[in-house]
């Protein structure tokens, strides 16, 4: 994988990346931060046109209303683009939000503050830490059509008079060089649009997308170009029957989650996949499961401290690594592996199985065989059996 692919893979797995020096292709640098951009000015908005579910957003309505309030206070000149805008007082944004929902109780405030935290963590706003905020680097991804919709919305939202001095945000924005020009240039306009649509769809959809809706997935020549586009971003295209989704190339092996989140995710996998599998309940060979593990079960039967467990569950949920299943008639509510498990390559899924077996039954003949196999295949980097 080239360094360009690696920069993109890193941006995808860590959120945003700090960029210095020349801006790599496929990025826009906003201040110091690199944001991956979509080719030909596309955006995940096109999922809606194709009626494909995007990755679920934690408390979506509330978060977006709070973002609208941030935008209302930061977008000073509606004739210009929203970014970079001006600094706004957090209290003004909260006042704007209270007026919008017509409630002033403390819970509204704490929910809004939670939403601000999530928006900050995902690059949509930047909290200064001194009671002010501004629009985040991701806001540069809205297209001109989007600006029209948002401008219209801004006129409808009542805003308080800014409580402090209005300070414009001064930040540079540098576009990287063209990323896919050589590839896309070979196709006429229609095919080019189909390629971009398929690219955005397989990269952002919550589940594998059906090839019936995307010419670039059905047609082998277009698909080859699509795979090349993905490869430049450190991604591979994978097929699940007649649906497709992208994932990290197997060559890109970094540990992207903090330790506590990895531990809790492993617990969910044991309870929701390994145990139902061992009991013969799970039929298909997949890491997705319809057997949730109750939060109570996780809380009671583990060595992890509860605070750490809850925080990790929250982060994992926000990233789509676990999904919350509502309590049904049988009362079986809890967590199952999230949509991200659609994106694991076959090799990664097989490796995950081996790692779990090595961890839970290190003395079993199977673990011995797995270690032996790894020694056979990777004589240079022995792992396991010491």
């Amino acid at each position: 994988m080239g360094s360009m692919g690696e920069a993109h893979a890193e941006a995808r797995s860590s959120g945003l990346v700090a960029l210095s020096g020349p801006v790599p292709p496929g990025f826009v640098r906003v201040g110091e931060v690199g944001v991956p951009v979509w080719p030909d000015g596309a955006s995940p908005s096109l999922l809606e046109e194709y009626q494909i579910a995007a990755a679920p957003v934690e408390r979506a309505g509330e978060t977006r209303r709070v973002l609208a309030c941030c935008l209302r206070m930061c977008w000073a000149d509606l004739d210009a683009e929203p970014w970079p805008g001006v600094w706004a007082a957090v209290d003004d944004v909260l006042a704007c939000y209270r007026t919008m929902v017509g409630r002033t109780d403390d819970s509204v405030r704490s929910w809004a503050v939670g939403a601000l935290r999530r928006l900050h963590d995902t690059g949509w706003i930047v909290l200064s830490g001194f009671g002010t905020l501004r629009l985040g680097p991701r806001c540069v991804l809205w297209t001109a059509d989007g600006h029209v919709q948002l401008r219209e919305l801004m006129r409808r939202i009542a805003a308080p008079v800014p409580s402090g001095e209005v300070t414009p945000v001064v930040e540079a924005r540098d576009e990287g060089p063209d990323e896919f020009g050589d590839l896309l240039g070979a196709f006429d306009e229609r095919r080019r649009a189909e390629l971009v649509a398929a690219f955005v769809a397989v990269e952002t959809a919550a589940e594998p997308v059906h090839e019936a809706r995307f010419a670039a997935l059905r047609d082998p020549a277009l698909r080859r170009a699509l795979m090349e586009m993905l490869a430049r971003r450190g991604r591979v295209l994978q097929q699940r029957r007649d649906a497709w989704i992208s994932g990290y190339t197997d060559a890109y092996r970094v540990t992207s989650l903090p330790e506590a989140e990895r531990a809790v995710l492993a617990l969910v996998l044991v309870h929701s996949v390994a145990i139902p599998r061992a009991e013969g309940l799970l039929g298909e060979d997949t890491w997705l499961s319809q057997y949730p593990v109750a939060t109570e079960e996780l809380r009671r039967r583990t060595l992890l401290p509860i605070g750490e467990l809850e925080a990790a569950l929250r982060s994992l949920r926000q990233a789509g690594l676990i999904a919350q299943q509502k309590t049904n008639e049988e009362g079986a509510g809890g967590y199952v592996p999230g949509p991200q498990f659609h994106r694991l390559t076959r090799a990664a899924r097989a490796r995950l199985q081996e790692e779990l077996i090595l961890a839970a039954g290190p003395q079993t003949p199977l673990a011995v065989a797995i270690r032996a196999k790894r020694r056979r295949h990777e004589p240079a980097t022995p792992d396991g059996e010491t």
Binding site: A68, G146, A260, R262, A278, W287, L321, I357
Partner: protein, 408 residues
Amino acid sequence: MSEGCPTVGRVLPETLDSALSDEAVLVTYRRMFAALARDSGAVVDDPALVDIAETLFAAFAEAGEEWLTHEQMRHACRAHPVEQFENRLRVLRGLGAIREVFPKPNQLRYRASFTSVVGLMFIRRMMDDGGQSEMHRLLALEDLTVAGPRTTMEQARRSADMLARAFRLWALELVTLTTGTIEELREQAPKLWGTEEIARRAQSLHTTILTRWPDLDRVCTDLRSAIYAYSDASRRAAGRLADSAGTTRNLTLLPAETWRTFAQTATRERLAAVLDGFVFDAAAPWHDPGAIVRAVDEAPRPVPVRPAPPRSALPDEGASSSLAANAPGRFTETAESLLGDRDAVALEEVLRGDWSTIRRVLADLASADLHPEAPYRLAWSDTLSADPSGHPSWLSHGRLERTDGFHG
């Protein structure tokens, strides 16, 4: 018994074959497998038949010294068809697992054989884990026996021989499975393959025998090669499974209990190590302008305070009198006084006087029209007359009609 299933029907009788010359052993052996016998010569293939035997033994244990009559036995097995029960009882009696309390003709009470009950317990365990735990116990016992001061070389030789044969047969089963379908291997292998523990115990037993009786080196070589063959077959089976595992199927090879124990006892470090080297996407939700607009539109709206509708400035006596007006009597009276003898009257004729009178009359007529039982109707036309200087200044044309022959 299915092919490749390592249960007593195949493995144990062969390992015990050598001892079968003795009639006493033969009797024990028959009793032990009575619970599995379909007739005196074969092994059952229907688990319900074993259930009958177990139910009977449980009933005998309950009955104590009262023993059981034929009717009581039938009652205990009432869940099973009578024919199946009788057939089973015949076999169990034929093999001596259930016998008359006193060997006399017309004997009515029966007792159960202790050996058969123990045999059944043993068989159940063999069915569950393919004999792994039995092998553990056997090795532990043999280890004790060969170390005992009174054990003879001949006994040690027989012990080593028997174990070598058991390991050979076990290895053979595994080899057969390893060349068969992956599904069958996945299902059966965990019952058969050797844990490190079994191999270690067997090695230790081998060492004990060889150290104490160096003359038994040939038998011990046999035993050693059988253990190696078994370990090798285990490794092959595990290796084949590890190679062709799919992506979650092998999780089934560890029992659910092992997984639960792992989840409950593993430290954060040990759990986290599972996902070392795995890369996932960071949370990067997309907030689409359209979705933001929708979210704002769907915001829970504050309920605005509604101003009261403006009140009429005209004098009005209030609600007290009009409440009584609900009574049909009043609007009947009004309608009749307006109609007189006629069946219909134009509203222009009757709506006269000041505004409040007109309003009252019109309200009464509307009530008369709407009341399901009152025989009056207001029929409106599409026309109206306007007279800006007159009173009323405009008027919709309509008629008050009587709807049937009712007459005050």
